[in-house]
């Protein structure tokens, strides 16, 4: 398989610097609104802060892959005397929790690094984080060429609907809705 160079975008999270203001959630949901910036709603944000002030836990987590089933592990981590749940670090849109799902449809959300043409200098959440808890990092990597065709938004959405309700039910629904 052919090797190609690819820019990998990531966000380094300095949780010690987060002060829990949720500006990242506001701007993320605002950027991803249609039309752009027309609304905001942290529940739709692709970055969320696990925010437990009395335990001094401030952990920004951005949405990763959708997963069909929850994992069996629920380990606890104690870091600097603070107890975290394994899920606190997890980026998955997962059946065990409401995080990273559209509040209306339940469809999964995933961070897209604010992909845009022309490209932004950095994702909006990073730009709006004056606390510098979010640091945008780009690195070049050699990866094997992806032979899978890239899925469009509708395909991804339908895929997860099928995972959730089964192919037949989705087909039936589409057929019913398609009737004039």
């Amino acid at each position: 398989m052919a090797k190609v160079k690819k820019i990998v975008k990531s966000i380094t999270i300095d949780a010690d610097k987060c002060n829990g203001c949720k500006a990242c959630e506001v701007i993320c949901s605002s950027w991803h609104a249609t039309p752009r910036y027309s609304s905001n709603n942290p529940a739709r944000s692709r970055i969320r802060i696990v925010r437990l002030p009395l335990r001094d836990i401030y952990l920004p987590v951005y949405a990763g892959e959708y997963t069909e089933s929850e994992c069996t592990g629920r380990d606890k981590y104690i870091i600097d005397g603070k107890e975290y749940n394994e899920c606190d670090f997890c980026r998955a849109s997962c059946p065990s929790r409401d995080l990273f799902k559209e509040p209306d449809s339940g469809l999964p959300l995933k961070c897209d690094m604010c992909e845009e043409t022309p490209a932004l200098a950095q994702p909006k959440c990073v730009e709006w984080c004056h606390a510098e808890a979010l640091i945008y990092v780009e690195r070049e990597e050699e990866v094997e060429e992806d032979e899978q065709p890239k899925l469009g938004d509708i395909e991804i959405g339908l895929g997860s609907m099928i995972d959730k309700y089964g192919l037949q039910q989705v087909l039936d629904t589409v057929a019913r809705m398609a009737k004039p």
């Binding site: 203001c21 002030p53 009395l54």
Partner: protein, 653 residues
Amino acid sequence: MRYGEIGFDLEVNLSRGSIDRVETDPNDTKLYLGGLGTNAKIMWDRVPAETDAFSEDNLLIFSSGLLCGTAAPGSNRTIVSTISPQTKLMAYSMMGGFFAPELKYAGYDKVIISGKSEELVYLWIHNDKVEIRDASHLKGMGATATSEAIRTELKDPDIQVAAIGLAGENRVFYASIEQGRSSASRGGIGAVMGDKGLKAIAVRGTKDINVADPAKYMELCDDVLKYIKFRGENPIKGVPPILQGLGSPQEMAIVDEEWHTTNFTWGNSRTRRKDFWTHEIEQKWKQTQENVRTRLISCHNCPMKCGATISVPGLPTYMMKCYSKLTYTMAAFSDLDFGFRIAQKATEYGVDGFSAPQAMAFGLELLEAGILTLEDFPGMPEDTEGRFFYLLDKIVRREGIGDYLADGTYWAARRIGKGAEKFDHNTIKKHEQLPLKLGMLNPVYYLMYSTGEKINITQIEGQFPQEPFATRELREEFVKDWFQVPDEKFKKYYADWEPRGEMSNPYYPTPQMASEIVDWMEKMHYIDDALGMCAGLSSFPLKPPYHIHNYPEFVTAATGIKMTKDDVWKSATRTRTLMRALNVRRGMRRTDDKPPEDHWRKRFPDLEKELLDNYYKLKGFNDQGIPTKESLEDLEMGFVAEEFEQKGIYSNG
């Protein structure tokens, strides 16, 4: 669809147990913007003049502001309106934090509480699902502990909770409503909440807040963020560290407390300690603060870090902001360690950080003066710190002497008698003020202290520097990039203001200029409180990112209602006038418009009269401080004039 605002209020009657979602009139948005403005209109329409604070008819309104929850940085204030048990006037109290945006995400601009519940309850708002729930298991619980208990019970850490502690349950006249890192403390609104049998309001929302002109709105927000960054990198030169930047005074970040400790008064607002701040104290306090401060924290969508999480070893963690770290310390002539310890208890009990320490210091002063005796304080420890803890416990339980002190210094002094009235020397309109005693009268401050409907200087002042810089050169330098002024003339007023001589306090700024300056400062606060914007990014600090020139654009882009500078200015005038009218209807007159008698050593009766006359005239009030029929009609509030006429308020003075 409504933009910026939601367009629906939640009406909860606790006597009947009814819950209604009620659509609001968009025309009110045009006239009053929202927040405090529409609160005032509701209070005028629905709470008759004779209503007691502890009546079923009194309303308790939790309101977001017009811009709350939008992307505008710092738009997060909750404005709480009700009748104050202490002043008997409109309580004008607010808090930052996360409550107001969450309420709007849940689909409401305001929660309007009426009636009373016989049993202690809490309100749970989750989008369209709203429940009045039993709170008997939360009775007597601290405010922070209550919030945690509710989050655990409802299994969602993202729920925002506004709660009262024991002080509110026992109707202490300066009980606060606590909400995580913030609190609405002034005017005893927590007592009204307790009287209504409402322990807490919990809210969680997952709906959208829309804006009308998204691209323009975001451009405005980005400009504000850029300017905040600029101001962070360019502090104002020539003023104490605490006044150099944006936000509320950075008490949690800054350790240098020379300005507060040497300028403000200690004890029952008596003693100035000009030599207090030494290198040793600074080292000691620095260590104390850094040991207990876990993290600097923000309110919803704000890059400032005005609050902090405080963990004093051996005590539960709590959150704090601003000046309350010093109010107990200074009232008790103690140190910062004591301040952090007692503030933990005071936060859980839910009391105002200005009034509570003054009431305690006042009680101890009466003991010293022999007006009260040790028999009035059974079992009280010998040391001052111990005494403060003792009194705090007595007050929030209304036990013995605590029952007197729980009404604040004004009412306590009159109930105790025997000359105690003399010791109530730091109140305006029965409300405890900042502990500050100065020499020469400052005409601008005279007007703000005397006339402000907030009855609280820190929420009126701002924009215009408190003092002139030493030289004209420095003053001219200051006004150079002062684009926030509503009119160029203010630059000249400031540049001409001298520390000494003819062009200095108390005769300069002249009564006319002083009235205009106060009008500007006051207006900005009224706009903030209608929009739900934090004063820390707007009306409070010097050279803020929000001002009269960009606010109309924010309002227009958010709501789609075209508003010019004049429209926004007039709306603030309308709300300011309506707040005055509400208090006039409840009996307030010119004779109440005065600062604490001993606030300034040097007083000037003729000048003071002239100041007040000028101010009233500019505001469209008559010589009794009552809004005139003409000014009310000009503001489209003929209904107020009508009631004044019916009640004979104009003719009887």
